[in-house]
């Protein structure tokens, strides 16, 4: 179906595929609940959240080629801003449509703040500084409960307001149009809307002037500057745009969970989001989406390993949590060996990892420039 969407044979076929996809996405939470139970609808919600995060980080890492290992800091900032402005912690209860943009903007500003001192850094050095930035934010959140209690320290902030739309609270199970919708269902549709918007923006950015400038900087910064590209501003913009989506996802996360603490924003999260991009296909939007979906859904599926063991062996030999991490690591190692370009790489990236035989031959022949 995806193939049809990309290369529709006729107009009506394209429309049919699109309608089918829309219906599927609309029914997905109900199908999931019926087949696997309500907890899986929550997994779906998280999968969408991670799609937003991965697409945001993809702007920085995939498009502009800036390795950012502290991406989770922006996620944390968005989440904390939401908690401060919509919870009993400060007694503020602003509506979500006001808080979400503020959180995204705050993250964007911090994106520039992080970007500015790291402009001259590349590769490993940039990774180290961004990693430090991520930890700084987390440690601040962990310790800013004294002398003035801003973040409530390691206990985190509780009772965060759920999203309200037209008098409908997303935090409770309610009847809408004769359907029983749980909180997870409501958030599914909200997240789906934001995810679709993010995908749309990601595509538009990729094909824009700025998108081309990012690619040029990724390829060769000196040459990019020589083309008249303001490398400083364009890099800062990449950090800001990426951070914006991180902040947005953070706000959504806070509203959805109703509780946040510094623990949710550790280094592992940054690495996980980066893994989604690498696994799916860096810089390629369908790949990044697939990576995010796989890495949220698969670990949940692997939870059943305990039950299977009990069923087959009569006892739990290996703790599912241990096994999950083991399998996760093994999957990544196998990927790096057999498909380093990712599951759905862009044509460009695929070529880079697998020079076709013809090209290689041509390359070798032209080394000597015999035909002139």
């Amino acid at each position: 179906m995806l193939d049809l969407l990309r290369r529709p044979r006729t107009r009506s076929q394209a429309r049919a595929a699109l309608i089918l996809l829309a219906v599927l996405l609309a029914l997905l939470p109900f199908l999931t609940e019926a087949a696997l139970g309500r907890s899986w609808v929550r997994v779906l919600d998280f999968a969408l959240l991670y799609v937003i995060l991965a697409l945001g980080l993809n702007i920085v890492v995939g498009y502009a080629g800036l390795l950012d290992l502290g991406y989770v800091a922006f996620y944390a900032l968005g989440a904390y801003l939401y908690a401060w402005l919509a919870s009993p912690h400060f007694g503020l209860h602003l509506p979500f449509w006001a808080v979400l943009p503020l959180g995204a903007a705050l993250a964007g500003v911090f994106g520039v703040l992080l970007g500015a001192p790291t402009l001259r850094l590349r590769g490993d050095y940039l990774a180290i500084v961004t990693l430090g930035f991520g930890e700084i934010i987390r440690i601040f959140m962990n310790n800013l409960n004294a002398p003035v209690n801003i973040t409530n320290g390691p206990q985190g902030i509780n009772l965060i307001d759920p999203v309200h739309v037209a008098g409908l609270s997303f935090g409770k199970t309610q009847q809408v149009l004769g359907l029983t919708l749980s909180s997870a269902h409501f958030y599914y549709y909200l997240f789906l809307a934001f995810t679709l918007a993010t995908i749309f923006i990601a595509y538009r950015l990729q094909d824009s002037r700025i998108g081309r400038a990012w690619v040029a900087i990724r390829e060769d910064e000196v040459a990019a500057a020589a083309m008249g590209i303001d490398t400083r501003n364009v890099k800062l913009l990449a950090f800001a745009m990426g951070a914006l989506f991180g902040g947005l996802a953070g706000g959504l996360f806070a509203a959805f969970q109703g509780f946040i603490s510094p623990e949710s924003f550790n280094l592992w999260e940054s690495i996980l989001i980066l893994c989604m991009i690498v696994l799916g296909g860096m810089g390629h939007i369908p790949g990044v989406i697939l990576g995010a979906l796989l890495l949220t859904v698969l670990p949940e599926a692997l939870r059943y390993l305990g039950d299977w063991q009990r069923l087959v062996l009569g006892e739990v030999l290996v703790e599912p949590t241990d096994l999950r991490m083991l399998l996760f690591g093994a999957a990544l190692v196998l990927m790096m060996i057999y498909r380093p370009e990712g599951l759905i790489p862009s044509r460009q990236r695929k070529r880079e990892f697998h020079a076709e035989d013809g090209v290689l031959e041509q390359e070798q022949a032209s080394l000597y420039d015999t035909r002139t």
Partner: protein
Amino acid sequence: MALLQVRGLKVAYGGIRAVRGIDLDVDDGELVCLIGANGAGKSSTLRGITGLVHASGEIRLAGKRLGGLPTHAIAREGVALVPEGRGIFARLQVWENLAMGAYARRDKGVDEDLARVYELFPRLAERRQQIAGTLSGGEQQMLAIGRALMSRPRLLLLDEPSMGLAPLMVRKIYDTIQAIARQGVTILLVEQNAHLALQVSARAYVMESGGITLAGTSGELASDPAIQAAYLGS
């Protein structure tokens, strides 16, 4: 007045003074070359002019001061650099590289210029869909020059276009450089291969350990016994 006017240009990397206060002029429509041995400061001069390294002294393009401007602003003033080692966007296709050359332009003549570049380099036209990194060295040099031309520069700076190329390919590249100069593009050519550079240029400067030691028309310099001994190997 000269299109490019350089007065007292100095470039230093920490304590090492690579360029020690040189004067240089390139007139409108002229092909001027800057020759000298490895490490004489030729590339540093170009890097200083384009703002890639910090330089002191005065650099003017058609009277406008360029000193202190960032590289991208200097590029937008119409100074196109073909850097040493070409600096092509290796993972992009040939036409994408060329399109990137016109990044700062907002006028309508881009397609026209693209056609002109393809005319100048038929090899690139044949390979417009090819990934630039898989081109041969000579083709990459063509691409780098073509990309610089796409910005419709007032001044084209070429840094060692013959480097690492087979003799036949060097010949081809130099023919094209001459063709470009004949079309009226002002060129400052930096080259270690003095023999070639003096053949195609009108005037030349000779650089040695950070300073300009000789200047004159290329014909004069080519017959200068000191130059012949030092650079032309005869």
